[in-house]
Assembly symmetry: C2
C-alpha cells in the first residue's frame, strides 16, 4: 500500500465538525462537546490511533445500536470510598467522566475514591480521565479492558485486551502522565506496519499456532476473524524479556475492571450482538493522606527533573518523563493543526453525508 | 567460571540455622523467626536470588550498622486510610510485616489501608507482604524501591531501582500472586549469565555509554563501581518493545515509595555511609467495597481458569497464572529440600563461624 498522506486541519474546525456529528446522533450539545474534547485530546497528544481516525468506529457503534444514546446508568454499589456503576451501554466518554467525577468527589471527602464501571463502550484514552484527577490536585488512576487481542504467555488465543493503565500526578513544570497498554503495542501499531508493508519486529505478535510472526497483514486478519493468535504482552511473546510480567499486568487490569465491576473480562467481550461489554476502573487519591501536599509535589517534581537531567545515552538527544511529549505535541498541534490522514478524511466525508452535514462547510 | 553445584538442604534445618544466626545478632526469637520465614519463603517459591543466598548481604548490613537492631519506628502520619512510618533503619522484614499489619487493620475498619515506609532496609520478596493481605481475604499490594541499577529510556546512568510491584488476590484453587521487577530482569539474572559465561540477550542492559551490551561481567562491574550503565526497564533499552513503559512503572513505584514516604527515591540511596534509605509501600483493600466477596472471588477464579485452559502455543506444555509456579515449587521443596549452591554454603559456614555457631550442628 502507499503511505498515507496527511493534511493538517485546524483544531477549532475539527472540534465544531465532531461536535455537530455527535449532536446529529442525538447527544445533547454538552455531551457532544465532551465526547469531542476527549476524542481530540488524543489527536492533540499525538495518539492518532485514539483520535478522529476512530470516528468511523464510533459511527458504527452508535448507528449499530451498541451505544445507548438514552442510557440510564445505575449506581449498584455505593460506599464512602467506592462505587460500582452499570453504564446501561452509555457512550464510554460520558459515563467515564461521570465516574471519575464520582471518584474525585469521594477522594475529596474520604481521601480516596474507586469506581468500577460495567456495560460500557470504548472511552478513548485512559490518560484523559486520570488527568481529571490530577487537574483537581489528586492522584488519578484509570484502567479499562477491551476486546481480547492479547495472547497469554505460551498461549495462542487472544484472551486479554490491550488493557491500558494510566496514572496522572501533579508536577512542575509538567504533570506526570503515564498511559500505556499492557500489551507490547496497541493494535494501531500493527496497522501502521501493515499499511507500510513492513515486517513486524520479532516478539510483537504470534500467529494461529502461537509462533512469533512478522506478518502484520496476517496478524490483523486473524484478529478480525478471531482465528487465533494476536499481540504479545509487554515484554514479548516469551519469558526471556519478561512477557509474563505484561501478561500479569493485563490480568490485574481485568481484575479491577471486569471483575470488580461485576461485568465481563476481556475474553467475553463483543461476543453478543449489540453489546461491547467494556468495563473500566477509576481511582482518585488525595495524596495529602501522606503529608504536606506541596512538599510531596515538589519532591516528585525534583525526582522527575533529576531523571530528565541524567546523562544521556550516546547519540540520544533527550530523556523524557511521561506527559512531556503529550504537552509539547498539544501546543504544536493547537498552533499548526492536527494532521489527518487521507483515509480518515474520506471517512469524515462519508459520515458527514450520512448525517446530512457538509464536510466543506467546516474545512474550506 | 564453572557452573555452581547445588545441594538440597531440608527446610526445617535451614530454618533453625537462619533463626539462630539472626538471634545471635540480637534479634528476639520471634523477630528472628519472622525474618527467617520471609527469607526462606523466597527459596521455597524458587526465587533463589532473594533467599538464603542473601544471608551474606544481610550479615554485612547488620554487622556493618546499616540495620538498626534496636530501631524505634515512628508513625509520622496517621489517618483512617493511610499512614507514613519512619522505620529508624529497622530490619526491612520486621518493619514491613508491621506496616502491612497496619494496612490490613485500616482496610478492615475503613475499607482500604495504605502505608508508606521510609528509612528502611531490604525486605526480601515484595510478594510476601502482598500475600499477608490476601491471606486475610483482602487484596494486597506492595512495592519497594532499591538502590538504583535501572537506566531510564535513552539514559546511561542508573536512576531507578528494580522497583518491583506485587499484587495478591484470593482465588481458587491457587491465589493470584504477581511479583515482578519493573526492570527487564533483576540483578540476580545478570549474575547467573556472568557465572555461566553466557552473553546477555540484547536489550537487557546498557554499558557506560548507554549502548546495548551483552557483556554480563562488564555490566556487573559497572553497577558495583557505579561507573555508569545498568539494567534496562521492562520492555528493553529502546521504545521499540515498550521500554518507556517499564521506565514509567519504575517512576510510579518511586512515587508511592520514595515520595509518599517522605524518604529517598532510588537515585539517592546507599550514598551515605551506614544507611540504605530504602522505602516501601503497602496497601490492603477490602474488595467487598465492590460487591459480594464470594462472587468476586469466584468470577476472578473463573477468569484465571479460562486463561490456564486457553489453547496453548505449539510446543508449549502449559499456560500458568501468577502464583502457581510458586506454590508448586514450595510443595516440592518442603518435601525434597531447598537447593543451596556451593558459594552460599561457603558463606553460611563463614557466618556460622563469625556467630560462634557450628554449621555441622545443623546440617549433618
Amino acid at each position: 500500500m502507499t503511505p498515507m498522506t496527511y493534511e493538517p486541519l485546524p483544531y477549532r474546525q475539527l472540534s465544531r465538525f465532531c461536535a455537530d456529528v455527535f449532536a446529529r446522533y442525538g447527544f445533547t450539545p454538552d455531551d457532544s462537546a465532551r465526547i469531542t474534547e476527549i476524542l481530540l485530546c488524543a489527536d492533540l497528544y499525538g495518539i492518532e490511533s485514539h483520535g478522529v481516525q476512530r470516528l468511523i468506529r464510533y459511527h458504527k457503534e452508535i448507528t449499530g445500536g451498541f451505544v445507548n444514546i438514552d442510557a440510564n446508568p445505575a449506581t449498584v454499589v455505593d460506599t464512602p470510598v467506592s462505587a460500582v456503576i452499570d453504564a446501561d451501554r452509555a457512550m464510554g466518554q460520558l459515563i467515564s467522566t461521570q465516574a471519575m467525577d464520582v471518584a474525585i468527589g469521594k477522594a475529596k471527602s474520604s481521601g480516596i475514591g474507586m469506581v468500577a464501571v460495567r456495560n460500557s463502550n470504548h472511552f478513548g484514552i485512559a490518560g484523559f480521565y486520570a488527568q481529571m484527577a490530577s487537574d483537581a490536585d489528586l492522584m488519578g488512576i484509570c484502567m479499562t479492558n477491551t476486546e481480547a487481542i492479547g495472547v497469554p504467555t505460551y498461549g495462542k488465543k487472544a484472551m486479554l485486551g490491550t488493557n491500558p493503565i494510566a496514572l496522572a500526578f501533579p508536577a512542575s513544570p509538567v504533570n506526570f502522565l503515564y498511559d500505556a497498554a499492557t500489551t507490547v503495542v496497541p493494535r494501531g501499531k500493527i496497522e501502521v506496519y501493515s499499511k507500510n508493508g513492513q515486517p513486524l519486529p520479532e516478539g510483537w505478535a504470534v500467529d494461529v499456532d502461537g509462533k512469533a510472526s512478522a506478518d502484520a497483514d496476517e496478524i490483523l486478519r486473524n484478529i478480525i476473524a478471531k482465528a487465533g493468535g494476536g499481540i504479545a504482552p509487554l515484554g514479548g511473546d516469551t519469558e526471556l524479556y519478561g512477557g509474563h510480567k505484561g501478561y500479569g499486568l493485563g490480568i490485574i487490569v481485568d481484575l479491577f475492571c471486569g471483575v470488580f465491576s461485576g461485568g465481563k473480562t476481556s475474553n467475553h467481550q463483543n461476543l453478543m450482538p449489540g453489546s461491547t461489554d467494556i468495563t473500566h476502573f477509576f481511582m482518585a487519591v488525595d495524596y495529602g493522606l501522606f503529608g504536606g501536599k506541596e512538599a510531596i509535589r515538589e519532591n516528585f517534581s525534583t525526582f522527575l527533573q533529576e531523571l530528565r537531567d541524567s546523562p544521556r545515552a550516546d547519540g540520544r538527544q533527550r530523556i523524557y518523563t511521561h506527559g512531556e511529549k503529550e504537552q509539547e505535541s498539544r501546543a504544536q498541534k493547537l498552533a499548526s493543526g492536527i494532521p489527518i490522514n487521507a483515509k480518515t478524511r474520506e471517512e469524515m466525508h462519508m459520515i458527514a453525508a450520512h448525517q446530512s452535514l457538509s464536510y466543506d462547510d467546516y474545512f474550506k
